[in-house]
Structures are given as structure tokens and as C-alpha cells.
Symmetry: C2
């Protein structure tokens, strides 16, 4: 492989690091961290909700814990993924959509809503949930890749001192994340559920394509 | 007048200050400054567009200049108000709505759009203009009091590293603004176009109610 401008695009694998764990740093961890956690200003003791417990939402969940928030509420429709979220450090899980999810999050936060609502799906319904659960003064940090416009309820939000952020990951935090891996502050291998050899790649695609059944998060191909 | 908790709600008029100028500090200047300029992160050399050249947009225009932005583009449909904006320090004015306004702002900014788009109207059309003129990495700072939801074009904005902010003025910056008035960094009296005695208050309402004809910005009632 020839890498143009490699001096500014590659990082040396730290001594003793497991290469397979570092595959998760190529974009999934920086995406959850930069677009969700940093933009969402997760802070010690704060309340966080992550809408979407897929690999990106889970990456946000893992990296949110760097900042010791008080509550991390994971919201999804798939109990398997919520169970994973619980093991990964979620303090609460909510299996519901729309108004029911909102009701549960408000109940968990004394009626106030969350300081940080991370959107990790990319559809109008989940972005709406974020608007309904964000507390006054809070942030909605969008990670989702949206294919359509969404409704923004400025008729209620105009006076609530909120911020909405978007970001395309640029991996500027990769050096920082490498340090957290070496210091055992985070174990990105937990996102890897399946391993395949290169000659099994068709099985790998099938496994990832039926994630609800196979419980696949991230699939690694080895030579 | 009896003021509850006056110690935390009142400010002493600085010696030598003109009381009539300070009337503008009761909420119009802090609103433009806090919700527009501070939330919009106006910075030296940056490009700013203010959509709406009414009193609140003009208050944002006056206070944006504290931070020495490179361009301040005022957008409105009323030539009289744009003329005022020019006198108040706008570097450019655009009399247009929708796609035409967008085209002109992009031409003024080398095709990039603005670092800060301040929404000072409060309707879907002007919020849409802000989305169309904000540069990647920029901020849309909403001041407008909206009565209806708006379209948010996340299908284009999700990857553009933008922020959208809302805020209800809390006048926390009043002490700072008082200092800028005393230091002659800003002259809030410029927002006052008409003076009436208390017994002329009906005329004052009529004047303010027909601002397009009377060119009224702010009307002061004196005893």
C-alpha cells in the first residue's frame, strides 16, 4: 500500500498495543467521541442520553465515560443492544420510541431532561426525541448521517438556551484515543463481536447484514 | 416602585451616564449581544451576517463590533433599515429574500458563507436563509421568537461542523455593557428615533406601530 502524505496521516502502533483493538480507532471511536461526546460537552456529573445503541452509539457510550457523567441513558428498540450498553457502562436503558421514550427519560432526570442528547441514528424520529429530552441549557450533538430534513421545534426551543451541533469526524483525536487505549482507560476490542479470515468475507458481510439476529457490532477481517 | 430583591436586580447608573441611553440596556442590547454576538462567537476578522435589520438586529450589529469582525452583512427587505445599518457599521447590506439573498452573501464571502449567521426575525424563511449562508464550521445564533417549527436541513448540514444556538436573554452582560457605554465604545442612543411625553403615549404606540413609514426604531417615553 502506498499512502500519500503518510507523515500526517498515519500513527505508529504503540508498543504492546493489540492491533485488532486499534482497528476501532480508524473511525468509529473518533466519530462517537468527536461528534457525540466532545460536541455534546459531556462533563462530570452531567446527564447524557444516547439515542441509538448501535456501534456508533456504543462508541459514544465508551468515550463519554472519560468525563465521568452522572447518568448515561441508552435508548434503542433492540433489547440485545441495550443489554450490551448496560455491560458497556450505561446507567439506564430505555427500550421505547417517541413519546414513551421521552416520558421515561424525563422520569429518570427529575423531569428536567438531559444535559447532553446524542443522536446516533440519523432519522427524523430520533432527532425529534433528542429535542424532547434535552434540558434547558443542554446540547443536542448530532452524529447521525441524515438523508432527509427534520422538523426543528424552535417555537419551544428558541428560549431554552440549547445548542445543536453537527460534525464530520476528522480523527484529530486519534492520538488522544491511542493514549487512552495504552493506559487501559478504554478497551475498544469490546466493540468487536466477530472475526473472519479474508476468504470468509462473504460470511462476514452476511453476519453484519443481519446484525439483529447475529448480534454483530463490529466484524474484523484478518489475513 | 417597590423592587423585590433589588440588590441582585438593579444596577447603579454610572456617574455622567445619560439615563436615556441606558434604557436601551434594559433588554434590547443584552438580547442582541448575548443571543446573537456571544452565542454566535463573533471574532476578530470573522464574517457575520445578520438577518433582520430591526432594533434587535441593529443591537447585534452595534455589539458585534466589540470583537472587530471582518465583514458584517445586514439582510432585510426595507431599504430604510439597511441605510440605518450602514450608518451603524454594517460593511455590506443585502436587500433580498430567499435564494437571491443567499446568492449575494455567498458572492460577498468568496463562496464560503459566513462564520456567524444571526437570525433576528423569527420566521421559517429567515431561519432557512441562515442555514443556506452559514459556512462549514460556522454558527447560526437564533435571536428570533418563533411561533412555528422550521425545517432543519440535516441532510446537508450533518457533515458541516455547524452549531445552532438558542437563548433567552438573561441580562448577565448588563454590567459589561454599562462599562462599554461609559467608555464610549458604543452609543445606545442611536437606537432611539422618537421621544414622547407620557401624555402622548397613544401617538408613541401609533408611531411604533407604523415603523416602516415613520422609520421608528426605539421610542422613548419621558415623564
Amino acid at each position: 500500500v502506498r499512502i500519500p502524505h503518510a507523515d500526517t496521516r498515519l500513527y505508529r502502533v504503540p508498543e504492546g498495543a493489540e492491533v485488532v483493538a486499534l482497528v476501532m480507532l480508524s473511525d468509529i471511536l473518533p466519530t462517537g467521541f468527536e461528534c457525540g461526546v466532545l460536541n455534546g460537552r459531556v462533563a462530570p456529573g452531567s446527564t447524557v442520553a444516547i439515542v441509538g445503541s448501535g456501534p456508533i452509539g456504543l462508541a459514544a457510550l465508551l468515550t463519554a465515560q472519560f468525563y465521568s457523567p452522572g447518568q448515561i441513558i441508552m435508548i434503542d428498540l433492540d433489547d440485545n443492544r441495550l443489554e450490551v450498553a448496560k455491560r458497556f457502562g450505561a446507567t439506564h436503558t430505555v427500550n421505547a420510541s417517541g413519546a414513551e421514550a421521552v416520558k421515561q427519560v424525563l422520569a429518570l432526570t427529575g423531569g428536567e431532561g438531559v444535559d447532553t442528547a446524542i443522536e446516533a441514528v440519523g432519522i427524523p424520529a430520533t432527532f425529534l426525541t433528542c429535542q424532547d429530552i434535552v434540558a434547558p441549557g443542554g446540547v443536542i450533538a448530532n452524529i447521525g448521517v441524515h438523508g432527509a430534513k427534520v422538523d426543528l421545534h424552535l417555537e419551544t426551543l428558541w428560549s431554552r438556551n440549547i445548542a445543536i451541533t453537527t460534525r464530520l469526524v476528522d480523527t484529530v483525536t486519534t492520538p488522544m484515543l491511542l493514549k487512552t487505549v495504552c493506559a487501559h482507560r478504554i478497551d475498544p476490542k469490546r466493540l468487536i463481536t466477530h472475526h473472519f479470515r479474508l476468504d470468509q468475507i462473504q460470511d462476514a458481510y452476511d453476519t453484519f447484514g443481519h446484525a439483529a439476529d447475529t448480534r454483530a457490532l463490529k466484524v474484523v477481517i484478518e489475513a
